[in-house]
Each structure stands twice: as C-alpha cells, then as structure tokens.
C-alpha cells in the first residue's frame, strides 16, 4: 500500500475546545476504523490546502478517531474549521506509542502543558479504563490561562475519580479562577506526595523546555530520566522516514518517535537548533 496516499474520513462531530482549538471525531468513508496505540499520530490532509501531522487524542478502544488541533497555519486553520459531514484525508497511524502496557503495575504520571494534553489523552482514557492494572494515576496539567484548558468535560470526570489525582494550574489566572497558578514543575512534588518514586513511570508532553524542567524536577524527587517518556514535535512532510524534515540527530521523529525515553534524547534536547 502506498504510504503517501490518504484514506478519506468523514467528520462525525466537531466541537470547539478554546479559542482557535477544536476537536473532531472522524470515521472512514469506507473500510474498517483505524486501530492505533496511544501516542501515535496521523497526517491530516485538508483538500486544496495541505497536510500536517496531528497526534491522535481519542480512546484507542473506541471506533472513532479523534484529533484536537490548534489553528496555527493554513492547514490547521482548515482542520479547526471543519464541520459535521465534512471530509478529511488521513494517513496513519504513525510513530512509536507511549509504552502504556509496559507501565502495568506502575504509578502512571502524566504531565501535560498546553496543547500537550491532546497526545496524552489516550493514556488517560486507557489507564482509567484499566485502572486495576496500575498502581496509581496522576495528571498534572498546565495551561496559559483558564480559557486555554482543553477537554473541560474530561477534566471534570477525571477529577471526580477517587482513584486518580488531577492537578491543574494556569500561568495567568482570570477572575473566577480558584485553582492553582504557576508552572507545572512546582506542582509535581505535591501531586506525587506519598507515591514511591521507584514505582513511577512518567509521560510528558508539552514545550521542550517544559519537559526538560519536569525531568529535572522529577529527578530531584528520585524519578530517573529512564522512567520518563516524552513526545517531540518537528516539521514533517511524509511521516514515513522519506522526507528528512523531522530528523533529530540520528532519529526520525516520525518513525523512531515521536515518543522517546528521555535518556535517549537528553543530550540532544539541550542543543540549540539541532
């Protein structure tokens, strides 16, 4: 099969998340639904505009394909503007997933910054659906402002779960915000109070600088970089290792990543303009 040829999908549901951010649920026009693993991504093709990589945000056990996109360029603007019934091209799924199954018996820590909640949402749905398989679940989520928080319904449901800890913080509060203010790193020790450091597997997604500081903060409480996984982002034109755009040292983010164990990429994340 030609890995560069998309399949056509139909928008089942489109909903705004926050200013310039929207989530779409998709189903294939023909053929079976896509099977994917948490952390993988698709190339989304908007007719007449172009194609971009977007992480998969839905439940891996559900038949619909869910993507959350922020309007930052022509293609993402077209995707954010999709309405129910519209058509979209999809290639995928691509990339190495979060090793959620390997975290069986472990305390799963998810740290997300901004739109970084989108690629980790499948971890949360999976772990919550299979909660007995894991020692614990903690989500630490930071956004710029309360208006930028994604998945309001999910956050409410997740907070309501007695078997999960959810901490949310914003950089800049607005009137009416009664939650925390500050960066996610400062919340990590509190969120993990009482959790044995050697039981934690951490999944981090957000700006590279956020992930770097989170790994440092985790290191200070005894969670090594080898227990931390990150998802990286680069320009991609093919997602199959042909176009060369996403190279990060010897790795192609598209097929060797986007999810990497932190110790594998630690030395490179610190190098400017790599």
């Amino acid at each position: 099969m030609d890995p560069m040829l998309p399949r056509r999908y139909r928008v089942l549901r489109a909903r705004p998340e926050s200013a310039g951010v929207a989530t779409v649920d998709l189903a294939p026009v023909d053929g079976p639904p896509m099977r994917f693993a948490p952390g993988q991504f698709n190339m989304l093709y908007a007719f007449g505009v172009g194609e971009i990589p977007v992480s998969i945000s839905g439940d891996a056990a559900a038949p619909v394909l869910t993507h959350t996109t922020r309007d930052v360029g022509p293609v993402s603007r077209a995707i954010v503007g999709l309405k129910e019934g519209d058509m979209l091209g999809v290639r995928g799924p691509f990339g190495a997933p979060w090793p959620v199954a390997a975290a069986k018996g472990r305390h799963v820590l998810v740290v997300a910054g901004g739109l970084g909640l989108a690629p980790v949402r499948p971890i949360l749905t999976h772990v919550l659906a299979n909660r007995a398989d894991h020692a614990g679940l903690t989500l630490v989520y930071g956004a710029r402002s309360p208006q930028d928080l994604l998945y309001a319904d999910d956050l409410r449901d997740w907070r309501a779960r007695p078997d999960a800890t959810v901490e949310v913080t914003v950089d800049h509060a607005r009137p009416g915000w009664t939650g925390r203010v500050g960066v996610v790193t400062t919340l990590i020790p509190r969120a993990l109070a009482g959790v044995a450091p050697d039981s934690v597997t951490a999944f981090l997604c957000g700006p590279e600088i956020m992930m770097r500081f989170c790994v440092q903060a985790l290191g200070q409480i005894g969670i090594p970089p080898s227990a931390c996984w990150v998802s990286l982002e680069r320009n991609m034109k093919c997602a199959v290792g042909f176009c060369g755009h996403c190279q990060f040292g010897g790795d192609f983010i598209c097929k060797d990543g986007p999810v990497f164990r932190y110790d594998r990429v630690a030395a490179r994340i610190g190098v400017k303009e790599l």
Partner: protein
C-alpha cells in the same frame, strides 16, 4: 563474477545492444558545459572529453582524443531518474460529498543506466536503504530500481575533488552492477565484466571475444592508479567526532563562508530530503500533491508553529554535514557520503567537506 570478462571494441556497440534488448538508455550527455545524464542513442556517446574539478570549480574540456570516459562525475546524479526531482503523488477532485483521490505513478520503461561510476553505485545503494527503511517502502522507487540495469564505468582517472578511495566506494565497481566497463589503453578497447545474468544476456547479443589475462591485469592497474591519484582523505573517526562536537567553533567558521544555497544537497547523489506541496487549479476543484527535492539548508525546512528550528546557517550546515557523515550511520548503517566530490566542486564558495571534517576532528573532544 561468474562470467569471464570480455573485450569490447567500441562502447557504442553496447548501447546499441541495450536498445535492441528493449532498454531506454540513460547515459552521459554534455549539456550547458557540464556532463549530464540523459536519454542517449549510440551516436550521442561523447568522445575526447575530460574535466577539471576543484573546490567551487568544474570545467568539461577537450581531453586526449579517442578516449571515451576520461571525465568523471558532473553535477547530475542517477537519483534524478530513480528519485525524480518532482513527482506527482496523487490528485484530488472536489465532489458533492467531499473529494475523490486518485493515486498517480509515472511510467518507467525498462532502463539502462550507462556509465555509472563506482561511487554512484554506492550512492544508489545508499538511497535503496532510504526508500526501503524496514518500516516503509517507496513503491515508485522500488519499481524504478527493479526496472533499471546498471552499466558501470570504472574510472581511469580521478578529479582533484574525488575521494572515493578513502570512502571505500571506488574507483572500481566491485558489485552492484550488471555490466562494468574499464577503458583500456586508447584504441585497444574496453574490458567488459559481467555482474549479473541480466548483464550476461545483453553481452551475449554482442558475441564478444574473451579478454586475456593481460587485459584483465591492465584494467585492475587502471583502477589502482585512479585510486592512488586521489589526495583528499576523510578522517576515519569522523562519525564519532562530529557526534561529539555540535558546539565546535569550526561550525561558526564554515557558517561565515556557507551561502546556505543548497547546491551541495542538490548535487549530492545520496541527499534524499523532499518537500510535499499542494497545487490547486484556479477553480479550486482540482488539487494535486507534488513531492519535490528539498534541502536542509532551506529556512522553511524545520518550520513548526512559532518559527524554524534551524534558523542559523551554522545549524543548517552542521545538520547537513553531521547527518551525512555521522547520524547517517545510526539511521542506515553506512556513511551518507560516497566520496564523489560533487559538493566540493559545485559549492559556489568552494567549501570542502573533507577539510571541514578534518578541522573538526583535529580540535574538540573525541
């Protein structure tokens, strides 16, 4: 090679045999002052040409009369045929229900590459690994590659920019070809070695005499001389040194000279980066996806929302050279450099990859 070497009087006879065997023959063709690769007829094969190459310099010139292959590589490489510079991937047409997609494949008849140098065979083998990376395969590339017969020419001389010997890719084609020619002393013909059954079938059309052992020894000596004539060297520890030195001051030095023009990446026979563009007609009802050669020297290459990752020329040159000589090993198990010297000759400011590699290997941590 299982078949004994033969003696070919005139290389045009081999082109004729290839055409008779049903191949489109792509071969050397002088154009605009340089040696290019284009469809040829037997009479197109140039004679009496040589070249002069140096950093930032290439001249195709008259050479010893009667010689067929005294020039070496020009700005073109075979990748233009196996991995075309512009390829349509698919087209999309608006419909009432959305859009329809139509896959696209350009035709590629059975093709013979005539005059492939050893470094170029190595380059083709490098791209074979790129376009079938173990996870994904480029079907179009595989189809073109399978339909291509390779007639090698073992270089009888080296340009000043050549360094295949130090990259262990040449100058003698030891494998990867269906037929291989070595031009013997002027007027005495060419040794024709057979590398595959497909090659043997073509050679059989010519009813050639066997080459005696003296001719075979002469061909080996010619290759040995072409190797010995090369002066440029690649440091043996370059892969590890580059990996360890992303902040070496030499990157600033080379960035002060590099124009970020992308000539090196276009001339390089292994560079494979591509862009994919959406092209629409004026009605907006018809769209096409086109893949075209791209370069890690272009500013948009690393564009993500918020800007480009590699803004400075320093970071882009570092990416190109570190990829070519170091991280390529991590990705594909070989160097991405085959020692053809194109990037040296076709760099408008004469940057020499072997000199830059040496400068980084000499200073900085191992």
């Amino acid at each position: 090679m299982a078949h004994p070497p033969l003696l070919l009087r005139d290389p045009r006879d081999l082109v004729t045999a290839l055409v008779a065997a049903g191949f489109r023959v792509i071969g050397p063709k002088p154009a605009e002052g340089a040696l290019t690769y284009a469809p040829i007829t037997p009479d197109d094969l140039p004679q009496g040409l040589t070249d002069t190459q140096a950093p930032g310099n290439y001249r195709l010139e008259p050479g010893p009369p009667g010689r067929w292959f005294d020039y070496v590589v020009g700005p073109h490489s075979w990748k233009a045929w196996l991995f075309p510079a512009r390829q349509k991937l698919f087209s999309a047409d608006r419909t009432a229900a959305g859009f329809d997609l139509t896959a696209h494949e350009d035709p590629y008849p059975p093709t013979a590459f005539f005059g492939v140098r050893a470094c170029e065979i190595a380059a083709i083998e490098v791209q074979d690994r790129v376009f079938d990376n173990g996870t994904f395969a480029d079907e179009g590339y595989a189809r073109r590659r399978a339909a291509t017969l390779i007639v090698a020419v073992n270089c009888a001389r080296a340009a000043e920019t050549c360094f295949c010997a130090t990259m262990k890719t040449g100058p003698r084609a030891e494998r990867g070809c269906d037929l291989a020619l070595t031009e013997l002393a002027t007027g005495t013909g060419l040794l024709l070695e057979i590398g595959s059954d497909r090659g043997a079938a073509v050679a059989a059309r010519l009813a050639l005499p066997l080459a005696d052992t003296a001719r075979q020894a002469e061909a080996r000596a010619i290759s040995a001389r072409a190797a010995a004539a090369q002066t440029r060297r690649m440091p043996q520890d370059v892969a590890a040194r580059l990996a360890a030195n992303p902040e070496h001051p030499q990157w600033d030095d080379v960035a002060s000279r590099c124009l970020s023009c992308a000539n090196c990446t276009l001339a390089c026979p292994t560079c494979f980066c591509s862009d994919v563009e959406e092209v629409t007609d004026l009605s907006g009802a018809h769209a096409e996806r086109w893949r075209s050669w791209d370069s890690c020297f272009s500013i948009d290459f690393t564009h993500v929302h918020g800007g480009s990752v590699r803004l400075s020329t320093r970071s882009r040159y570092r990416q190109w050279m570190t990829h070519k000589l170091s991280s390529w090993h991590d990705q594909f198990g070989t160097s991405g450099c085959v020692g053809c010297g194109r990037c040296i000759a076709w760099c408008p400011v004469g940057i020499d990859i072997t000199a830059e590699a040496a400068a980084i290997c000499e200073g900085g941590p191992p």
